[in-house]
Amino acid sequence: MSSPPKHEGSPPNQEGSTPKQSLAVWKFASCDGCQLSLLDCEDELLLLGERLEISYFLEASSATVAGPYDVSLVEGSITTPHDAERIQEVRRSSRALITIGACATTGGIQALRNFADVEEFASIVYASPEYVSTLDTSTPISAHVAVDFELNGCPINKHQLLEVIAAHLAGRRPRVRAHSVCVECKRRGTVCVTVARGVPCLGPVTHAGCGAICPAYDRGCYGCYGPMEAPNTPALNARMAELGCEEVDLVRVYRTFHAGADSFRQASEAHERR
């Protein structure tokens, strides 16, 4: 991802220094946790505020500057007709658009509606579903506009977020590895929970980035960083079945925070049909 050219709307130079690049943070259907990750960078936040012009970040600031923006971070999925239009505006006003988190990258937990009747969903929650304006599906940002980089995770890892922002400022590709959680367990020195204790674990098919937290807490990975590149879900599922997972469990494990990701969706549908 190359560094975008400076636009005329950049903030004024201070005594001839290089103009700061501008950052915008946008929210769609989400829990706010991924943008909170930016505020959770307690040691880096003030430096970030000095290096970047934070032009639009409503969770943190009531001051907003009109676009275009050099970098837009987008949290959340598209679930309403209004948001489907709004993301087009965000794309038009952004030189680089980076999705942050499971919702923006694969549709999030709310993509479970994609497997159900949304009218029935609305009637379960709301006494007057006719007041609610919603789409039948929850879809990732990439289903609507071109995306320059996707940082996945439910929630994202704040160190990876800083790396992605820093890489953009430096005009280089972010160092975000695409291997599985298994590699992170080995690096961390965690004994495999599946091999040693027979605990079902999605680590072999899940994208790295979290730091393999769950196995370090004696728990199988539940896939919250989404599918790695080309995951071999059938092989893993056969092993999980041997460990006692029933078909319903295999459907459930893939239908959580990345239910809408192609490979996880296919894995869940394969077991739903049986």
């Binding site: 307690e42 003030l46 409503l58 600031s61 379960i124 539940y222 459930r252």
Partner: protein, 434 residues
């Protein structure tokens, strides 16, 4: 304002520094507040529907995703409700202590975020904490250190700050050792000092006048400030078990909001959160927090909602001090969780999220499949009280210039740290004068 017939429209297109998306509509007829609407248009995500058909053990991880600011609150109300359904009650011992401990971490993280980054800029006239840091760097850095301590505690017990992974029905996946907990003691002791400084600093902020006296609702239990369990009480005579929530609290769906509005069946509007907890349970504060509140000059019942920033700071002292005490007395449990066997039943769980009471109710099948779920977040409960506050604040400050009045309204909304993502949910603020 010259005449009653003068038409003025105040508009602040976005209310920032809240979690989520909504709008505010205030219409004035002359000097009278004719209509106030907190409009919540955060897109609905249908959690209560998508929980149906899931395993009872999945509720803590799924409901955590309702809110990235207070995931522990969701996890704690969920595990409590599931355990209640299954006849398991973790009311004492190290597993409950660990639950209170991680909850203290969340209060520290959420309250320091709100006090320093979302609310303080209102009092000092800045658009954000980052802007505020240019002139008050040490204040913002103090807040960030406090927040970092809360996050460190969450990450230690829960595995990570946002959507912790270690909480399960029955307890935890892995219980920390005494030695591991000891690693955060120094950081928490420094955080406790910062919390005491925060109370003194917050007490000296300029508070706009307002008198708001809603019915206060909070959990209460013997022997401690309410966090993770208790009866639901109020200063209007409510005293019920969480299981009786539905008998006394009704939720309404109105056209202008994707969050349901809750009211007490018999009387109407009520408030939950720090002001309510403090009004009802200040005697249960730890001595250090109680003394800090006294020295700050807080009355027993705080009727000026702008002072909520002081109450939240007192709760920071409470959370730090309690966390240290819990670590000091911690004994490693024999097992990280107790066995919880599902049965066909209904269970209720009510805990105190940083911004107020969070109620969960689940009906589960004999194999643990969730048949029905109901979640009532604090901001749904506080919506009407926030609207009432706005009426009072607008009436009190009606002679302010338009822009200042609009800002004051936004500040008044932030008094209650609304989490609109929870309640469904960006605030667009419109004040219209007729």
């Amino acid at each position: 304002m010259s005449g009653a017939s003068r038409t003025r429209v105040l508009r602040a297109d976005y209310l920032a520094r809240v979690e989520g998306e909504g709008a505010m509509y205030v219409r004035l007829e002359g000097r009278e507040v004719a209509e106030v609407k907190l409009r919540i248009y955060e897109p609905p995500r249908f959690f209560e529907a998508l929980l149906r058909g899931r395993a009872f053990t999945e509720a803590p991880d799924i409901t955590a995703r309702i809110c990235g600011i207070c995931p522990i609150a969701y996890q704690m109300s969920a595990v409590r409700a599931m355990e209640d359904a299954c006849g398991v009650h973790l009311d004492q011992g190290p597993l409950r202590d660990l639950r209170r401990l991680i909850y203290c971490g969340e209060w520290m993280e959420s309250h320091s975020l709100h006090v320093y980054m979302l609310h303080a800029p209102d009092f000092l006239g800045y658009s954000s904490a980052i802007e505020m840091a240019r002139e008050h760097r040490e204040v913002v850095e103090r807040g960030l250190r406090m927040k970092k301590a809360g996050n460190a505690l969450m990450a230690l017990v829960g595995g990570r700050e946002v959507h912790p992974i270690n909480v399960r029905v029955g307890g935890f996946y892995r219980a920390p050792t005494r030695r591991e907990l000891g690693a955060v003691t120094d950081q928490l002791q420094r955080a406790r000092e910062i919390a005491l400084d925060t109370v003194r600093w917050a007490a000296g902020l300029p508070f706009p006048q307002a008198v708001c006296e809603p019915e206060h609702v909070a959990l209460a239990e013997e022997g401690g400030y309410p966090i993770d369990r208790g009866r639901i009480i109020s200063d209007g005579g409510l005293d019920i078990a969480p299981a009786q929530f539905d008998e006394h609290i009704v939720e309404q769906h109105v056209e202008h909001s994707n969050a349901l509005q809750a009211r007490i069946r018999e009387r109407g509007i009520y408030l939950t959160g720090p002001l309510a907890r403090y009004a009802l349970c200040s005697s249960a504060l730890r001595p250090l927090a109680r003394d800090a509140a006294h020295d700050a000059g807080l009355p027993e019942v705080c009727s000026n909602p702008f002072q909520s920033i002081v109450v939240r700071s007192v709760e920071l002292v409470q959370a730090c001090d309690e966390a240290l005490a819990l670590i000091d007395s911690y004994e490693e449990p024999d097992a990280p969780a107790v066995e919880v066997t599902p049965r066909r039943a209904v269970g209720h769980g009510a805990t105190e999220a940083p911004r107020g009471l969070l109620y969960h109710r689940y009906e589960i099948d004999e194999d643990g499949t969730i048949l029905d779920a109901r979640i009532v977040p604090p901001t749904s409960q506080n919506q009407l009280a926030i609207e009432e506050d706005l009426r009072a604040v607008v009436a009190e400050h009606i002679d302010l210039p338009e822009e200042q009045l609009a800002l004051r309204c936004e500040q008044a909304i932030r008094n209650h740290d609304p989490c609109i993502s929870c309640a469904t949910h960006f605030l667009q603020l419109t004040v219209e004068r007729g």
